[in-house]
Amino acid sequence: MVQTRKQSLNTSRKNRGKTIFYWSILAFPLLQFVVFYIGVNLNSFALAFQEFDMYDEGLKFVGFDRLWTNFVAVFQEFQEADYLLKAFNNSIIAYLIGLFVGLTLALLFSYYLYKKFFMSKFFKVILFLPFIISSIILVIIYKYFVENAIPAFVLQLFGTEIEGLLSNPDTEFVTVLFFSIWTGFGIQTLIYGSAMSDISNDIVDAAKIDGVTPMREFLQIDIPIIAPTIAVFVVSSTATIFVNQMNLFSFYGADAANYDIWTIGYYMYQGITVAPLADYPFFAAFGLVMTMITIPITLIVRHFMNKLDPNGR
């Protein structure tokens, strides 16, 4: 059918309307992003190329001849200060354990909720509690628990006196890591659970007729179907691998003295909190270096996660 003049005029007016709509909706969000993300972080980007001089002007550009001086300092620090390597390792360990233990438990629990097994409504409410309760409260309570209650129980049960789990340098890291997993997977569980509840009953029923065991159904049907949702969490936790400070700031403020439990995220956070201005350029460069390490890791993980997605969307 041949379009009449009137119709095509209508279409173009409609298109113009759509364009106006599109940009008027996006104007504020984009402006906000430019000001509060790019604007604010440009400054921290610029800091990486500045240095501090007590006798002259404070912060100033390092000059083109020494452009990479702060970055060189970062790599030197990595070579000289073994606590940084330790923190790097801790970040990786926290990430991997969080991923495997946290994700596995979250998936299993969400399966339980999805299948509406015994008491699942109650569990659902409890799983949400750590999110509801402010982290200050949780940390205070947890500290008392591991420092006082556990030693008291061990004494009663086995008759041996042990140190508090945070006081003992050997168990401190595990205890803090446990806390972040313990309080971390509730939301994931709920979201996986609701993603699973969208799975078509036909598929599940068909599987049941084929005599598929619950374990196989879970592994081979449910998980692949909710793979996109899992991917969101895996990718975002990979992206924050060197930002994650494992709640150390809630536990110790800026003075967690045992370097053996530091993560890179905590190192940066406490560095910015307590370091003198003169060290800001170093930390800015440090952040950029970490970003450069994170990006390829995240892209690889994302690529891998996309492969798991059977829909190939």
Partner: protein, 291 residues
């Protein structure tokens, strides 16, 4: 109960979940008992039951819970009620914009995927999840001051009104999943785009909207850092809690009193949660992470 429910998987999951729940509820009970202890009772018996129950602790906290607010460089003392008002303003407003902005941004980009900006926004969301931000809050304070909105509610609302983060993906998936017919039908009726969005599409995602709003609300309710840094004239309840547990020379200096404070702050949010638990734990599904 059906028989298949009794597989090894289910029973072991049930046991793990039970242990987990106990581990979460126990500390809460500990906090409740501690909140009615006398200070010496607590110091020498931090774990056992109270030897006497001091319910006055709650009265003391309600009466003496005060924080410093700095209004135009002049110090004021804010009590619980003022903190509650400011908390509602901060958490309510910030949660609203932090839900609305990703929602409409996701709507525009999901509706017009062919526009280049849509792809770019999607990429920005993914990219900003990857890039860690080195503490840049001095820069943020300077920015707010230059805009003349530092230490104002409007300022923190605007600050929180970004589309970044995982909930953009949630809304994006939701809008993409919605049948196109809804809006096409409306278009034939001659409705303009704003009408379609506000009258038809947004109501369709109201459950997700409400869930995200509540999640954000809880998050901001428990957040003490933003009020601490950007809103010194309106300290919130969580900031108050942070304040009494970190500043010395305070009348609420004992652990039992602090626990009572914690419980007082916890109660409203717990009530909200119980009232809206279906909504809060409603259906959120997420899109993939492909651009």
């Amino acid at each position: 109960m059906k028989k298949r429910n009794l597989s090894v998987l289910n029973v072991s999951l049930f046991l793990i979940l039970t242990v987990y729940c106990i581990s979460l509820i126990w500390p809460l009970i500990w906090a409740i008992f501690t909140s009615v202890k006398e200070q010496y009772d607590f110091l020498y018996n931090p774990l056992g039951l109270p030897s006497t129950y001091i319910f006055e602790n709650f009265g003391t906290v309600l009466e003496k819970f005060e924080v410093n607010a700095i209004v135009d460089g002049i110090q004021e003392r804010h009590g619980l009620f003022q903190m509650l008002v400011d908390t509602l303003l901060y958490a309510g407003g910030a949660a609203f914009v932090a839900t609305l902005v990703p929602c409409i941004t996701a709507y525009a980009t999901a509706k017009f995927p062919q526009k280049k900006m849509s792809g770019l926004i999607y990429a920005i969301v993914i990219a900003t999840m990857i890039i860690p931000i080195v503490g840049s809050y001095p820069a943020e304070i300077t920015m707010l001051q230059n805009l003349g909105i530092y230490d104002t509610l409007l300022g923190v609302w605007i600050q929180k009104a970004n589309f970044l983060g995982v909930y953009f993906l949630v809304f994006h998936a939701a809008f993409r999943g919605l049948a196109k017919e809804y809006s096409e039908a409306a278009e034939i009726d001659g409705a303009n785009e704003f009408t379609i969005m506000s009258k038809i599409m947004l109501p369709l995602v109201r459950n997700t909207f409400f869930t995200v709003f509540l999640i954000k609300f809880v998050e901001f309710w428990n957040d003490y850092q933003v009020p601490l840094l950007y809103l010194p004239s309106r300290p919130t309840l969580s900031f108050g809690l942070y304040f009494v547990s970190n500043y010395t020379g305070n009348t609420i200096s004992t652990v039992p009193l602090r626990m009572a404070g914690c419980i007082i702050i916890l109660l409203p949010i717990l009530a909200l949660f119980i009232a809206f638990k279906e909504k809060l734990m409603g259906n959120i599904t997420m899109g993939g992470v492909k651009g």
